[in-house]
């Protein structure tokens, strides 16, 4: 979403920001795991974004900017401080070797929505958020890098680690499921 190079007004902000409302809420709710906190977070995001709109770099990615504000607000919140763990090996920019196909991962097809939702909720926040940005928001690596303020190489390695973690969780859940799902 590129913004034309012109002076923007409050109306322009409204036009750009309101279409993102549903997605931002979904993302906030996933981050906070709580309805009231998610609502506060979205509200805070819009207030901050409106206030900082004049400093928004025209011609740059507005969506990534909004998500970055939301995420930074989350990080400075109590829940955010508690849940955001530092990831090891973050500086390892190489894409991790892909997993070999295992019988478990082939069964992903059958993984029902609830199981995946549960697994996503169980993931550490850095993994959960990058998966949501990539799959749900369908952001490019570049956009993810802008949103999370991390280099492209880190985007790739973190995504790769997040997917592996999700696969492991899903495999565990399926193994533990009463009917051998």
């Amino acid at each position: 979403m590129k913004v034309p190079e012109q002076r923007v007004s409050a109306e322009a902000f409204e036009e750009l920001a309101m279409p993102l409302f549903d997605q931002l809420y979904n993302f906030a709710r996933w981050l906070t795991q709580d309805t009231a906190e998610a609502e506060d977070l979205v509200q805070e995001t819009y207030v901050k974004a409106l206030r900082g709109f004049s400093s928004f770099q025209l011609g740059t990615n507005f969506r990534a900017w909004m998500y970055r504000i939301l995420r930074n607000s989350f990080l400075s919140s109590r829940t955010g401080l508690r849940t955001m763990v530092v990831l090891d090996g973050e500086n390892d920019d190489a894409v991790l070797p892909a997993q070999h196909t295992t019988p478990e991962s082939l069964m992903l097809e059958q993984a029902d929505r609830d199981t995946v939702q549960q697994a996503l909720a169980d993931l550490p926040v850095p993994f959960r958020e990058i998966l949501l940005l990539c799959e749900v928001e369908e952001m490019s690596y570049q956009e993810i890098a802008e949103t999370l303020s991390i280099p492209m190489g880190t985007v790739m390695s973190r995504l790769s680690r997040a997917r592996r973690a999700l696969r492991e969780l899903l495999a565990k859940k399926r193994k533990g499921a009463p009917h051998g799902l």
Partner: protein
Amino acid sequence: MACEQWRGQLDLYADGELKSEQAQAVREHLRGCSDCAADALERVQLKRSVQMAGKRYVPSAKLRQRISKSVAAKPRRESGWLWKILVLPALSLVILSLAVNLYVSHESARRQRVYSELADLHVATLASATPVDVLSTDRHTVKPWFQGKIPFTFNLPELQGSEFTLLGGRVTYLAQTPGAHLIYQLRKHEISVFIFQDRGEETASLPSGPLHTQSFNVENWTQNGLRYFVLGDVGPEDIHALSKLLRDAG
């Protein structure tokens, strides 16, 4: 195993991050390698399940309402807030003292009345949540906006190379006469420019030139049948600079 190098690309391939020729190469490999094809399929399936599972929460209508209201009703510029908060009480005091002045000097009474009315307009406008009705820095947008709203037309100066910024404008009234109220910004100070037809009794015989009241500086003059007022809390030289720009344009 030769497939290792392909597998490293499968996430990028599934995410659509490969350049077209690289993606083409991966596609060709997948056609001939069932292991990698199964791996790629699994990655795409994982992506899809996360996508489906991830779209989970829907915001309440109440939150949407609250946020669109806060987005729409917020003042457009925050930069001047501190200034406004600090200066507003002072300005009201000054306006009060202007009112007292009315009793002191009959000669200056009429002039002060005009100025205090303009000061009221200036302060009330800046305190409003929507200070301007046409929000634009472009004089070519602001000027035509007034067409049909006020019974005269005027020219606005080119501000390039000056420190002033045009914030926008609104229709205003002084002594039942419609006029243009433009708001300019200089280093976070707002300056009001009022333009009226110079035939209202209130404004007709006002002496032109700069004037300093306790709170802000005013300059006014007549040009082509129009009476201009420039009013703000910046120094007289800044008021004069903006006045000169307007005079040269008019």
